[in-house]
């Protein structure tokens, strides 16, 4: 059973779906962001698992470590970037949440989106 | 025919109308008369330049200039061959007269009207001088949009509605046409140019494919040429537009569609392929239906310009019918009718304009006795009306004669019946106008000094010279061209060269 052998990947995929589900279904925008982060984390997990090597060691060349036994450093390097991106998006999204809460007084996405727009001509002028 | 020679003259001709535009842009607010006469000069210069090519064209020269080439087969090129030159000459001449006429006729928003007049002239001249379908389509579409402001110039509700209808028809037609050209390009092995005997052949494409191309072309151009199920915009647009614009619509813009069909039949498909595909009966039937039905519709109209518009629908189909005969005389008659009809219908619409300006009357039933108020105009009107019926000696007669001869040549005398029916119907809707204008003045009796009498024949109450002179010129030409058609530059001298090549 390849699926059972690849249980890391399977777990990552399930986590991914869980995250997506949270993003889609939850109405609280903070929870949506949490879902987003779950999705991101699942992908990080997936990447790191990709680099795994049976009985591998850290890819640091000290004391004559055998390169053939080292785990793959590329996914680690990539996912560092991924994490930074995730943090950045989360920071931006959170700051928007702060602003939205100040302006609408709610975190419920349905109420947010249903909120009547002010007169169309006005919207460009504020700020 | 000789090889084509490079010449910048076609480009100059196409660009000259822009002089008018520049004049308008230069003094948008000041020096109104000067500005308008500059527009006239631009139009005159265009006509002059086109005329200057006449000797060369009669010698069989072909002038060509490449504007741009997208890829090898897809280029924008202006080429003046005899057929294109013929159309170009007709349109610049009519445009010249319409411009003169407009100077006095248009009473508001001169700038917009003259600017778009000039633009349209440039674009249609581009159509006439196009070397291939690609170029033709480009100018054709620009012309479509350029003529919109002319139609809605009055800005009445009726004009807006007519303009809207025009746009709907034109855009749909443009789309179909676009498709036709892509299909042509695809199945024609990338040959979009106008060949002397056609460029498409069954070698590269199946019968069904070529039929598709043909009928999409027909539908695309048919809207402008007002072939019957596609004519809907014409009767609305003509009455709504100012008279000089109606004259141009009828005399030139409808002809751009017809000219497109001529190009498709002669230079894209070629006569042999048309015979092989057996499409001509369909076209002929459509044309016949249009001729008869449009004339019947014309009978029922009371609005003069609307009646003239229906008349135009029928008359343009003469051209199509002539082509569909696939016979020497038929083609000759059809193509010559392009000019003939432009002269006649141009004159008629300008007359209608004079009537509108002087008396404010639009409907025929109100026009009793108008022949006495506007004698010169109405005499010209009558001349053209008679010509429309095919009375000799006039251009209308030449057309009818040639078409009749062509139908005999094609072995289908049934066309003669159609032509005769059309002539009768023409008589039925034109003669009443003449009759009302000159012989029925009950409605307009005035009471003076205790007795009733009719307005006297008073000369000198005619409209401005700018209005009358074009009318008179056109009416005179209706006769002159009808009698001496072989004078260099007149239709026969040009068209016969083309047709003699195609039908040796």
């Amino acid at each position: 059973m390849r699926l059972l052998h690849n249980y890391h990947y399977a777990a990552a995929m399930l986590l991914f779906c869980l995250g997506l589900h949270t993003v889609i279904v939850r109405r609280n925008i903070i929870k949506k962001l949490i879902g987003l982060n779950i999705m991101e984390t699942s992908v990080f997990f997936f990447y790191i698992s990709l680099g795994y090597l049976e009985g591998g060691i850290a890819p640091i060349r000290t004391g004559g470590a055998d390169p053939a036994r080292m785990v793959n450093p590329i996914p680690q390097a990539l996912i560092l970037t991924g994490i930074v991106v995730a943090v950045s998006v989360t920071a931006l999204a959170l700051s928007m949440v702060i602003l939205l809460y100040r302006q609408y007084g709610t975190l419920d996405v349905d109420r947010l989106m249903r909120e009547e727009e002010p007169e169309a001509g006005e919207s460009g002028k504020e700020g | 025919m000789q090889e084509s020679t490079f010449s910048a003259v076609p480009l100059v001709a196409v660009l000259l109308p822009w002089v008018s535009l520049l004049a308008i842009l230069a003094f948008p607010k000041r020096a109104e008369k000067l500005r308008l006469w500059l527009c006239f000069l631009g139009s005159l210069a265009t006509f002059g330049v086109v005329l200057s090519m006449l000797p060369g064209i009669l010698d069989g020269n072909i002038y060509t200039i490449k504007l741009a080439s997208v890829v090898e087969n897809l280029e924008m090129r202006l080429t003046v061959d005899t057929l294109g030159y013929y159309f170009g000459l007709v349109l610049t001449f009519l445009w010249l007269l319409a411009t003169v006429y407009s100077i006095s006729y248009i009473d508001h928003k001169h700038n917009r009207f003259f600017a778009f007049m000039a633009l349209c002239e440039s674009f249609i001249l581009g159509c006439a001088f196009s070397a291939n379908m690609f170029t033709y389509f480009i100018f054709y579409e620009m012309m479509t949009f350029g003529s919109y402001p002319l139609i809605i110039h009055e800005e009445t509700t009726m004009a807006r509605r007519a303009g809207y209808k025009y746009l709907v028809y034109a855009i749909a037609a443009g789309t179909v046409l676009f498709f036709a050209i892509v299909a042509h390009y695809f199945w024609g092995n990338g040959q979009l140019g106008f060949g002397r005997y056609g460029v498409l052949s069954l070698e590269f494409a199946s019968r069904a494919a070529l039929l598709t191309v043909f009928f999409t072309y027909l539908a695309g151009f048919g809207v402008k040429a007002a072939i019957m199920p596609l004519h809907g915009w014409v009767p609305d647009a003509h009455p709504a537009a100012p008279s000089p614009a109606s004259a141009l619509l009828s005399g030139v813009i409808l002809k751009a569609g017809a000219f497109g069909i001529i190009r498709v039949c002669f230079n894209v498909f070629g006569v042999d392929l048309m015979r092989e595909l057996k499409v001509y009966p369909v076209v002929a039937v459509l044309a016949c239906i249009t001729i008869v039905v449009a004339s019947v519709f014309a009978l029922t109209q009371d609005n003069l310009k609307r009646r003239l518009a229906y008349s135009s629908i029928g008359q343009v189909s003469y051209i199509i019918l002539g082509l569909a005969m696939l016979a020497h005389d038929g083609a000759l008659g059809g193509v010559m009718h392009l000019a003939h009809h432009a002269l006649m219908k141009g004159c008629l619409f300008l007359c209608a304009g004079v009537i509108l300006v002087k008396t404010g009357k639009k409907n025929i039933s109100e026009m009793a006795g108008i022949g006495y108020q506007l004698p010169i105009t109405m005499i010209c009107f009558s001349v053209c009306a008679l010509a429309m019926m095919g009375t000799p000696p006039s251009v209308g007669f030449v057309t009818k004669w040639l078409l009749g001869s062509g139908s005999l040549e094609a072995g289908l005398p049934v066309y003669i019946v159609v032509l005769l029916a059309s002539a009768l119907l023409n008589a039925a809707y034109f003669l009443p106008i003449v009759y009302i204008a000159f012989f029925r003045w009950e409605g307009d009796e005035v009471e003076e000094h205790g007795e009733r009498h009719h307005p006297k024949l008073v000369f000198g109450k005619e409209a401005d010279h700018e209005l009358v002179v074009p009318v008179v010129i056109l009416a005179a030409l209706v006769i002159i061209v009808g009698i001496w058609s072989n004078v260099p530059g007149f239709p026969y001298s040009l068209v016969s060269k083309v047709v003699n090549v195609i039908f040796p």
Binding site: F16, V23, I29, K32, L36, M39, E40, V43, F46, L50, I74, P75, L78, T81, G82, V85, S88, V89, L92, A93, M96, L99, L100, Q103, L112, E115, E117, A120, G121, S123, G124, K125, E126, G127 | A68, S69, V70, V71, L74, E75, M76, I138, F139, E141, M142, F145, P149, E155, R160, G163, L167, I171, A172, T175, V176, F178, F179, V182, A183, F186
Partner: protein, 494 residues
Amino acid sequence: MGAWRHFPIFMITVPLLGAVLLPFLGYVREKWVPYASLLPLGTSALLGVLLIGRIPSGGYLSYHMGGWEPPFGIEIRLDYVGLFLMLVVCGITTLALVYSRRYIEKEVSGGRRTAYYVLYLLMSGAMLGFVATGDIFNLFVFMEILALSSYALVAITGNRNAVRAAFKYILMGAPSSIMVLLAIGFLYSVTGTLNMVDLAGRIAESGFTEVLIVSYILLVVGFGVKAALFPLHMWLPDAHSIAPSPISALLSGLLVEVCAFALVRITLSVFTMRASDLVMGTADAVGVAAAAAVLYGGIMAILQKDLKMMIAYSTVSHIGYIFLGLTAFTAEGLTGAMYHMLDHGLAKACLFLCAGNFIYLKGYRRIEDLKGAWGQMPWTCFAFALASLSVIGIPPTAGFISKWYLILGNVEGGKWLYAAVLLAGSILAAVYCLRVIYYMFFQAGKEGAWEEYWHDAPPAMLLPVWVLSLATLFFGVFSFLIIPSLLKAAAYLL
């Protein structure tokens, strides 16, 4: 090999560096920021222009970052098409930046103005990097810079509708980025490489068909959201209509295009060899979605009352055009798609900037308010009309040329239905564009809605508008400058 070899990397990094340095200027002389921000973009544009002719239409320029040869290091791989798009990006961003100064002064409050220019430069640089890169992970990185800066730029006015639209955009954009990341992970897991050329070779040999298909689907969905392909377009109309107009111009005119381009590249140069059995099924679905987009976008645009909303829906429709050109899988179709990116970019940017002029001067957003606009703002109105003609595809504008090739490409690919859809799309475009033009030119405005005398936008706002609208005309008439090379390059890509 001369110094020009290094130009692409500087085209990308100079705007990014400029963005980093701009705040310093912001502290010292805030007034100079709008002018100074032109410098990096101008430099990029100049370098791009200098590159013209260096890249043969069948070849490419490969630049090895850090000197590491491709599968090991990151490669900038710039072919003719890529350079073409980079130039479009440079041109439009520069023009919209010129436009920005006056508009932003009015729309964005003081403290945020410097941030606006910083983000603007980041976005421009990211687009350039995004187009040029030859490494699929690097593509992701630049996509994220692009996405982040565009989220923030949509919200920059800080009013509640804007923030809400931006948040909606994030809620769709961020999961789509993650999908792309996941897809890259899948690709990496079965090929062990991230370089696009290397990937193409490895994919051709790889046996893991299921993984490849799913990663392709994920990529299509991921980039489809960013490019606003039909069922995934929900964020677009709000974001594009509420953002400040120069930003709308960039979003509509460039961002969706470069994302579509990324998908084009992934389809054609990553999944190349096995296009027939791997990609076709998905590509067919994309074709259907694109056809639906053309019609849906067009119809929705007709129904809109808000001018910018209408233009935004028109973008949805035109993205469909681009994808239909791609899914034809013919050189002509691809050429049409590429050329459409150019002319749609120019025309849409122009339309949005024109809409911005109306908002700037009169605060009018609704189409009805534009009745009689011609009397006061003739220059804006004329530019709008010209750009609309390109959107419709009337000759001789560039829109006509691209439509020509799109339809020809679909006809050659035997996709007659799509050709018909494209034609229908242009009819729809005619309806929604001509309505606005009709209002502007041929209807009388309400009493007091417009000044009696000409009072058009300031020159700095008219100049970009006119340059853009004349460019649509220019590239229509002089399409021969580009089309043959594009055709060759497209044939090479296929």
